[in-house]
Amino acid sequence: MNKEVVLQVKNLKTHFTTSKGTAKAVDGVDFTLHKGETLGIVGESGCGKSITSLSLLRLIPTPPGKIVEGEILLNNKDIVKMKEEELRKVRGNQISMIFQEPMTSLNPIIPVGEQIAETIRLHQRLPRKPAWQKAVDLLEMVGLPSPEKRAKQEPFQLSGGMRQRVMIAMALACTPEVLIADEPTTALDVTIQAQILELMKDLQKQIGMSIIFITHDLGVVSEVCDQVAVMYAGQIVEHRNAKDLFKTPLHPYTQGLLSSLPNIHENQQELQTIEGSVPSPYDYPVGCRFADRCPHAREICRAEAPDLLETNNAETKVRCFMHTEKWEVIEEKEELVCP
């Protein structure tokens, strides 16, 4: 496929220096986002997915956090190397963000319309009145009832779902090329979740933007994403087309994640879990970070760290020795040793 590349992340490392040492929250993340594509980044809490998304706009609080290595190329310009001035023109304009907590992510004492309009005034240099009108139009577009009235209200007068719609309107105000949605539906009721997801899909079609969707909810991923990157312990372990990933997960961690989902069609007595726990970001093992929890782990998994490699299908990348030629060699050897 020759789709246009919008965003390319290369070997991104965001580390936090604390009194306990260095936490490698994001430790070598690579991915490519194409125009109009929705990429889901999934993983359990603490795997680095939110830090990855905040790093993309350099919103990591420094200190203690810092992007120590890597490139974030937006249309071939490196965000990591940008000056403050340049960076501000990207934020909210070319790349914008929706956050997890609509309750706390809006300024509690500024009318929501103004919170949207200020972004428009800033990036599009519109005067007050037209900017306000555009804010009202945006609120209408995201399906907020009586937008004229709501625009003048403050966040405490709106429900959680309405606030998330406001956040979306704010993020879309300058028709960004990339929208980063960091768990946008986690704090919402299931019915409202569905509405918000539907809304995002519709708006994506209208505007033609690319979306990075950060979530731990695999159900949401299967519904909205084209591509999925599975993160574990600060790294991407599998990056694939969403349909294929759900059908035939390759990485043992992904397999574990999917099998731990309850299935409505089966009468299960107990939920499947992945044994063990995530290694500490202060002290990752030398080899594969999943080795201690992996049912297939061999000697090599503990001795060497696998790379995120393309399999025979160029669209599929996985970080596991099982899917390399090495593995077959090892298998033969082990068969010889223990018949």
């Binding site: 934020r91 909210g92 972004t119 800033l122």
Partner: protein, 306 residues
């Protein structure tokens, strides 16, 4: 909002009762007989009795109090025991001086306090922050009368830049206003700093940055207004202790304001004068508190005044 203000104004009535009662009782318990003081040293017992009779001080205490309060509600604060002039006239002469002093002092408290607090909070734990906070700690710790004497010594006696005392021109305002305002500024600075630090860590500040706003917009438009909410309360409270401070500072700088009037009146056991002065000072405090509540609501519409 209007209903709220009306309610608060009605609440002034019990305040008047309370303040007058407390002052009245204290003045009754203080040693020293006003009649004897007025009659002067070496006056005969008869003369003293005569004074007591004239001033109505021989009546029962309860009766004296009731007649005083009923006069107060008619706008009559009585006459000074010393010079027989109406207390209200004297107060109206002195109040503007004290209010002017209080105004400049609270201005120093607010401007200096906010500026120092913001400077500290923007770069927490930096050398700048630590030095500002050390100065603030000093400001809180210094008693105002002592600070007044130090400032007077430095700027008036040594450097001779500013007048020592009195109240004749704008230059006279500087030292007493600084003396009164600095302690409050230190408290406001510490409050502003901690409140700003709290707000800057909030999600909506990250949202503001994610929108590409310039840092000073983020600080002044998004953070400061939220951080001001607890600061307003502190400023209101500070105004109360500032009014108390005028008593000392007016004495140190020989300013003929309300505070000094009350001190002089206490010395001569001039009961109506003390009561009138304290009552007016309390009313000023009540009004300032009302203003604080109204401001509070203006900044934060989530607060339901009723």
């Amino acid at each position: 909002m209007l209903l709220f203000i009306a309610k608060r104004l009605v609440q002034i009535i019990p305040v008047i009762f309370g303040v007058t009662l407390v002052v009245f009782l204290i003045m009754q318990m203080v040693p020293g007989d006003p009649a004897a003081i007025l009659a002067g040293e070496g006056a005969s017992q008869e003369t003293i009795e005569q004074y007591r009779e004239d001033l109505g001080l021989n009546r029962p205490v309860a009766e004296q109090y009731m007649s005083y309060v009923s006069n107060v509600f008619q706008g009559d604060l009585g006459n000074s025991l010393k010079n027989k002039q109406p207390v209200l006239d004297e107060i109206l002469l002195r109040l503007p001086i004290t209010m002017e002093l209080a105004f400049y002092s609270i201005l120093i408290t607010i401007v200096l306090g906010l500026a120092a607090g913001i400077i500290s909070a923007v770069k927490p734990y930096s050398i700048r922050d630590v030095s500002v906070m050390v100065v603030a700690l000093l400001g809180i710790s210094l008693p105002s009368f002592w600070l007044g004497l130090l400032l007077m010594y430095l700027f008036s006696v040594k450097l001779q830049w500013l007048p020592v005392a009195g109240w004749d021109g704008p230059l006279n305002i500087i030292l007493p206003a600084l003396t009164l305002g600095v302690g409050g500024a230190a408290i406001v600075a510490r409050m502003t700093r901690s409140s700003m630090l709290d707000v800057i860590g909030q999600d909506y500040i990250r949202t503001a940055r994610a929108k590409g706003l310039k840092e000073h917009f983020v600080i002044y438009k998004h953070a400061l207004r939220n951080a001001l909410i607890p600061v307003i309360t502190v400023v209101g409270l500070q105004f109360g202790s500032l009014l108390g401070g005028t008593v000392l500072v007016e004495s140190v700088f020989a300013i003929n304001g309300l505070g000094r009037m009350i001190v002089d009146a206490i010395r001569t056991r001039d009961l109506p004068m003390v009561q009138g002065g304290v009552l007016v000072a309390s009313l000023v405090f009540v009004f300032v508190n009302l203003l604080v509540d109204v401001l509070y609501r203006a900044v934060n519409k989530r607060i339901d005044l009723n």
